[in-house]
Amino acid sequence: MSLIDVRSVSKTFILHNQGGVQLPVLRNASFQVTAGECVVLDGPSGTGKSTLLKMLYGNYRADSGQILVQTASGIEDLVAIHPHRMLQIRRDTVGFVSQFLRVIPRVSTWDVVCEPLRRQGADESIVAERARQLLQRLNLPQSLWPLAPATFSGGEQQRVNIARSLMVEYPILLLDEPTASLDAANREVVARLIEEARQRGAAVVGIFHDDGLRSRLADRLYALESAQ
Amino acid sequence: MHETLTDYNFAYLDEQTKRMIRRGLLKAVAVPGLQIPFGGREMPLPYGWGTGGIQVTAAVIGPDDVLKVIDQGADDTTNAVSIRAFFAKTAGVATTEVTTEATLIQTRHRIPETALTSGQILIYQVPIPEPLRFIEPRETETRKMHALSEYGVMHVKLYEDIAQFGQIATSYAYPVLVNGRYVMDPSPIPKFDNPKMHQNPALQLFGAGREKRLYAVPPYTDVVSLDFEDHPFEVQSWDSPCGLCGSTDSFLDEVVMDDAGTRLFICSDTDYCRIQRERADG
């Protein structure tokens, strides 16, 4: 059974303020991902890998097609649902690991990481245990936990972001170059965390520029071509 | 006795004005505690000297009435003497200093100590009729607040007292709830007098001359002073009795007796004090 079923999704950016220029980025993208499977989006830059991933998270809109996602209460089409419902799907079903951390400046690393699981109403002891585990595995020293991540290095911020994104065991996990600015040791930790997610049955869709990581994690590649 | 003037209408005001005021008073009696606007007239004394009270008295007084006027409880202060003389002259009515003999009592800042009886009318002079004015300067808004019983702010005032002074420090013009509906400013009477308003057999009328408002508490109406459960309403009390009559249950004024600063506490109600002394003398 596929947790993700992308059917003929197309997307064109229209730049109204630059003379209405039309930039087609995706044409009829279609693929499925089943539980425990990792599909890597493949293709040269400009073929819409990142756009497609963002559409799976409701961050970008699709012009046409369907993005069917299996949620606890049934199958939903992300192209057509109300944004309010998308918020619930983000809370419970789809997780996204991006390269950038976006948080309020003054919030501590600890609270940034704990938030997604707290939002689900989880017991604080469970939240704390999980956060501790992830932060330790990602080699973020305990002395940093009470500090706001705004002043951290790029690699530290990204690890905070990964910890935050993996707090909830989402059935669907989207990864946008999660290891971009990490050293070898931390890359290994992230690779293991992704493998564990797959083993518990998560459907994973990712973009990896790191060839080693890609061949290690990918069950299949989905090749994208230029839409122009 | 004063010579009755014939060049003026009875009790100074023309009959049309009196009717207008009486209509306002009827409405005020019908809706206890509600402020009724009226077309206040210019009176031959300045605002703040009881123009509102005088107009109400003029509207309800008849030739058979017996009038008493008190200012801060005393019958012999300038204001009381002047107003009493005014009605003796313009209406030719009998006047008295004895509370029990009066049918009409116009008052500034006190309720007599002697219990009032059914048939008597107590007329208050009111400087600021709006109890919500301290917090809300807009008349349109205060009227709406009354209409909708939005009285939370009244307790805010009492809250501020306790927060600042450890107790409700408001000691006069202490707000009351009339007939379970309207919050009313009882005029600047000491809070000592507030309990006397409750279920009083006399009719209580209020006139504000500058603000041109009338309101009323009909006989036997509930009048409750606002308070908190853990800071209940309390009246003032004194350590010693009245220095003249020995009374322990009346409102006392502090009087400085000499240049050395000797102080004496005596009844503010001069008529009551006199009766107590006469009774003691046998």
Partner: protein, 258 residues
């Protein structure tokens, strides 16, 4: 499925052609923050006043469900009922604290007013509540008896929020709550707001022209222009993939600081 607590259809209030608020549809669900963005004069403040019952619409429907599950028709409701809702089930946080606070009343009195308005008559309890809410919005409870006029702008805004939250409202309306504040003070206030929204499960409708504030606080956005809602969506979707020409222009004008 959870129902919206506030639901507007075709909400219209027109002062002059394209001035005001035209045919707005909007749902607010429990626990979410809805941002209304647009330039001044776009109708966003009018919409906020309509939604919060501070103004009546010329046309349209508007219903609100309070925490007890009672439904209120905010178009037909009596003025006394709407004022009652505003003092209990709604919070209204003004841009200028002077419009939302009583500056001559102590901080504690400001917070206690709503409680006394709904019948609280125990001084000790009211004071305990005031202390509780002061610390909730990160104001030193030792300042309970100080007048808000001696508070900084950020503290006044916090006090205004505490004053609104004391009756456990389900829905809070905010009009540019970080408007007059320094950037660092803004950040702290936003952080407090975000925490309160989550801890208390309140819904928020916030009007702002600051896209940064919208991004940090709002789950969903409505973009308004000439009185109409021209685009809606998840906050990050509207800001990262704006559809309408005007929204693209609005997003492009955000200063990139980072």
């Amino acid at each position: 499925m959870v129902e919206p607590i506030l639901s507007a259809r075709g909400l219209t209030r027109e002062y002059a052609p394209e001035q005001g608020c035209l045919e707005v549809d909007l749902d607010v669900w429990p626990g979410e923050v809805v941002g209304i963005v647009g330039e001044s004069g776009s109708g966003k403040s009018t919409l906020l006043r309509l939604l919060s019952g501070q103004e009546r619409p010329d046309a349209g429907t508007l219903s609100f469900t309070d925490r007890a599950g009672r439904q209120h028709d905010l178009v037909r409701v009596s003025e006394s009922a709407i004022r009652q809702l505003q003092r209990t089930a709604f919070g209204i946080v003004h841009q200028n604290p002077r419009d939302g606070l009583r500056l001559r009343i102590s901080a504690g009195g400001n917070i206690g007013e709503r409680l006394m308005g709904v019948g609280a008559r125990h001084y000790g309890d009211i004071r305990a509540q005031a202390v509780h809410w002061l610390s909730h919005v990160e104001i030193d409870p030792a300042r309970i008896d100080d007048l808000p006029r001696y508070f900084s702008g950020g503290m006044q805004q916090r006090l205004q929020i505490a004053r609104n939250l004391v009756t456990n409202p389900g829905l809070v309306f905010m009009d540019e709550p970080t408007g007059g504040l320094d950037v660092s003070v803004q950040a702290r206030l936003l952080d407090t707001l975000k925490r309160l929204v989550h801890d208390l499960g309140i819904s928020v409708v916030i009007v702002t022209h600051d896209m940064g504030v919208a991004r940090l606080l709002a789950d969903r956005l409505l973009v308004m222009r000439f009185g109409r809602v021209i685009e809606t969506g998840l906050t990050d979707q509207v800001l990262d993939d704006p559809q309408a020409a005007y929204t693209q222009q609005l997003v492009a004008s955000i200063l990139q600081v980072s």
